[in-house]
């Protein structure tokens, strides 16, 4: 298939050879192409980290913001112009560490955005400290005796927060990842796609082989609409289930909840502000 629409020419990708990030880039571009998204109407929003460089490698608009803060920016971009497709993408540290509070509250808001998390269980760009998803015992230059904090399980937390779409994939399987990304993008509401991604430079434990061995696909008959079953699945730690773990179709999206869109779907950025002058004039006519 052709990805010319989303591919940039002559770019120097700053990732390490063999890194799982390349697969994610591929899967995402393929998904976008297959969904026939217009690059001009797409915004990729990211934070800081290796993963967060992704938008620089796609032919589209982007907002590359601060470490940990990209979900807030993404929510607002979508709110002021719901006609844009907004995909927020960053690393596990950025999303669940520095950005943990925004992760929670974005799920509560449920904006119609897709959230792709490159989960390599490590801080790549800063050279190998533990991330919130690092496994117990994982040794690093600052966790010299190994991680002992309980790993953050984004899937179970998202289910507990009643997120509207929760999926996990492994980038060893680009094709399946692409399919799930497509579903996440077409899903109306916040969609989490946590992608297991080997970091070949700083995570010598959770390698391609390790992930292959410690993951399995959900059976076809698995029902992602049952929250309690989803929670059980989400808590499974070894092997880790892959696929769409939870879907809650009942949640209204953030933009639709905003009063400014109740009657009029025009993005507020396109609305003129003429009535404001008469509003102010009226204000001064009313008695104090």
């Amino acid at each position: 298939m052709t990805q010319d629409k989303f591919s940039l020419k002559n770019i120097d990708i700053a990732w390490c050879p063999g890194c799982g990030n390349f697969g994610i880039l591929q899967a995402l571009k393929d998904a976008l192409t297959e969904l026939n998204i217009k690059p001009e109407k797409l915004v990729l929003v990211s934070g800081i980290g290796q993963a967060a460089k992704l938008p620089h490698y796609v032919r589209t608009n982007f907002f590359n913001g601060l470490h940990g803060r990209y979900l807030s920016a993404a929510t607002a971009i979508k709110a002021v112009n719901p006609e844009l497709t907004v995909i927020a993408v960053s690393g596990d540290g950025c999303t669940y560490g520095e950005g943990g509070n925004h992760f929670i509250h974005t799920i509560r808001r449920n904006p119609d955005i897709t959230n792709i998390v490159h989960n390599n269980m490590v801080y790549g760009l800063t050279k190998g400290q533990a991330s919130p998803t690092s496994q117990i015992g994982f040794k690093t230059p600052v966790q010299i005796d190994g991680v002992f904090e309980l790993p953050f399980n984004p899937i179970s937390i998202a289910v507990a927060l009643d997120a509207s779409f929760v999926a996990r994939t492994f980038i060893g399987d680009i094709e399946k990842t692409k399919e799930i990304i497509k579903q996440a993008i077409t899903h109306k509401g916040y969609a989490l796609v946590d992608i297991l991604q080997p970091c070949v430079s700083f995570n010598k434990v959770n390698t391609y082989a390790w992930f292959k061995e410690h993951t399995y696909y959900l059976e076809d008959k698995y029902d992602p609409f049952n929250r309690y079953e989803a929670f059980k699945k989400a808590c499974e730690e070894d092997p880790l289930p892959l696929g769409i773990i939870y879907k809650n179709p009942g949640r209204k999206i953030f933009e639709d909840n905003l009063n400014v869109y109740r009657k009029d779907k025009t993005p507020i950025i396109w609305r003129d502000i003429e009535k404001r002058m008469s509003f102010i004039k009226e204000f001064f006519k009313e008695e104090s």
């Binding site: 800081i48 982007f62 929510t75 971009i77 709110a79 509250h105 404001r276 102010i280 008695e287």
Partner: protein, 561 residues
């Protein structure tokens, strides 16, 4: 001798509606045609404690606290002597509680209120009493009550009127023993004005400036602007969102702005600290944002419901790295309105953050203004439709590249937080780095051609020049008027950064300089020293959480001459 104004203080507990008495009085007095001003000092609690509101009624425009108290209304016993340092020989205490050693008159506010059905009516009784004492016909108060409580039903209206009448009638007997010292002469022009508070002034400025998006996290005294915009947002196409924290608020603001919505955040010191990384992002990403920073006394939680001007340096230097910024500090509600509207224009035009710096005193005061002149509001469009070869950070002489937004045109808009190339891609080209830093700094050339001059009040032939900034405008102006010396003038800065170069001439001309600031270190004086190399030896500082009073400033200026 008749006084030019009368100063009334009402004191009571949080929950007794002390500041609503202020609001009633100011609005009723204004509707009658006199100038009125109220400001409030509150404790950080919802019930109990001791809060007070000062109301000044005058034949001239009144917008500044007075030291002197003419009438005191204590709705709580412990409030009787709380302000004793401000009492004069003529202070009259209108009290339900015993008063020793001061002129007083007994009024059973609470007793009567309970009779009417609820102790809360005490404040309407007080309002009636005071309206009566300043000789305003009862119908003005009645009209206000009817309007204010129209949604609450007949019963509520009637009880309020009964309470108001009781107070009003009490005034008649008092007036016999209390010689009138203030003689209000109603004026039609005044009754055509409109009473507003500082939050409203800023919010209206934002509305006029085109705000489409506000994100905030609750924080006193900054939330009023948000409350106002939330109330009118549906009607005026404004999204207001409560963020989970200030960091999110700021980053939402930047996302909204990147996508084409004029955006603002409103916060106070501690919340702003959390926004400073985002401010730095706005700087390098060149994304417009208006920051309303409403000051209160710090450090940390400090005195959360009081006033101070100690975050000027914070606004000046917050955010890591170097990038341009603009800081307005309105002196009154007119400036608040026009400068806030201008802040939206400038942040779009210069693509760099613009601050509106206020404080609790500014935000929570009440006085009337003439209808704002909307012809002074300029709405320009600074967003371009992108072409295929669009580059967000195109280098040019001015440092200001045409700004596109995503989805408008055939180009791509790359908002980036790194050192980047003209297209917005991460770059490690170190020669370009210098150019990109210069690009940011070059914006000051354009900004500097637009600066707002400080305002001189008084003779141009001053010897002593009294400097001030932000919310001290009206106080210092009134103090200078009170001193009434032909050698003393005031110079007020409503744009505190960058400072207009004409300032240098003003400073040079003075034989003596003095700066009035609500902080402990003289931050604006330092900024002037830094900018012009001129030392301002005389600092009139106050940092106990209260605004200056007119007499206090006048006396402290007096000490200099």
């Amino acid at each position: 001798m008749a006084k030019p104004n009368i100063s009334i203080v009402i004191i009571g507990e949080a929950g007794q509606g002390i500041n609503s008495v202020g609001e009633i009085l100011v609005k009723v007095v204004q509707s009658y045609g006199l100038y009125a001003f109220a400001w409030t000092e509150l404790m950080s609690r919802i019930r109990g404690g001791l809060n007070s509101t000062q109301i000044i009624i005058s034949n001239q425009r009144a917008r500044a606290p007075l030291q002197r108290i003419d009438l005191l209304v204590p709705l709580k016993e412990k409030g009787v002597y709380h302000h004793h340092e401000q009492f004069t020989n003529e202070t009259m205490i209108l009290s339900e509680f015993p008063v020793n050693n001061y002129n007083s008159y007994q009024i059973p506010y609470l007793k009567k209120a309970r009779e009417i059905g609820d102790p809360i009516f005490a404040n309407i009784i007080a309002a009636g009493l005071l309206i009566g004492l300043v000789n305003i016909p009862f119908e003005y108060l009645k009209k206000f009550i009817v309007r204010q409580f129209k949604t609450k039903g007949e019963n509520v209206i009637n009880s309020n009127i009964i309470a108001a009448e009781f107070g009003f009638n009490s005034a008649i007997s008092i007036k016999k023993m209390y010689p009138e010292k203030f003689n209000g002469i109603p004026n039609d022009d005044v009754s055509k004005e409109k009473v507003i508070d500082g939050s409203t002034a800023i919010a209206l400025g934002a509305i006029a400036g085109g705000v489409k998006f506000l994100a905030a996290y609750p924080m006193t005294p900054s939330s009023g602007v948000w409350t106002y915009l939330a109330r009118v947002g549906n009607e005026l196409d404004i999204i207001t969102e409560q963020a989970e924290d200030e960091i999110s608020a700021m980053n939402m603001g930047l996302g909204a702005s990147y996508a084409g919505a004029r955006a603002m955040v409103t916060t106070s010191g501690g919340g702003f600290d959390l926004m400073t990384e985002g401010l730095s992002l706005a700087g390098i990403q060149e994304t417009p944002i208006v920051v309303h920073l409403a000051q209160r006394p710090g450090p940390a939680t400090g005195l959360p419901t009081r006033t101070e001007q100690a975050d000027l340096e914070l606004a000046l230097y917050a955010g890591h790295g170097e990038f341009p910024r603009i800081i307005f500090a309105p002196g009154n509600y007119e400036q608040g309105f026009y400068l806030t509207a201008l802040a939206f224009d400038w942040t779009e035009r210069f693509q760099t953050p613009v601050f509106v710096l206020t404080d609790q005193f500014f935000i929570d005061s009440l006085y009337s203004v003439k209808p704002f002149d909307l012809s002074r509001i300029k709405i320009s469009n600074y967003v371009v439709e992108t072409q295929e070869d669009y580059e967000r950070y195109k280098l040019n002489e001015t440092g200001i590249s045409p700004r596109g937004i995503p989805g408008y045109g055939r180009g791509f808009v790359h908002g980036d937080c790194h050192h980047h190339d003209e297209n917005g891609h991460i770059s490690e080209d170190l020669k370009l780095r210098t150019k990109m830093v210069d690009k940011l700094m070059n914006k000051y050339r354009a900004i500097n051609s637009e600066l707002i001059e400080p305002e001189l009040v008084g003779t141009p032939d001053y010897e002593l020049l009294v400097l001030c900034w932000g919310s001290n405008y009206e106080i210092v102006k009134e103090a200078i008027r009170l001193i009434n010396s032909k050698n003393i003038s005031m110079l007020h800065f409503s744009q505190v950064y960058p400072i207009h170069p004409v300032t240098y001439q003003y400073l040079k001309k003075a034989r003596k300089l003095c700066m009035v600031e609500n902080n402990a270190t003289g931050q604006m004086a330092k900024l002037l020293k830094l900018t012009f190399g001129i030392n301002i030896e005389n600092l009139i500082l106050k940092y106990n959480g209260l605004p200056f009073s007119v007499e206090e400033v006048a006396n402290r200026i007096g000490n200099l001459i």
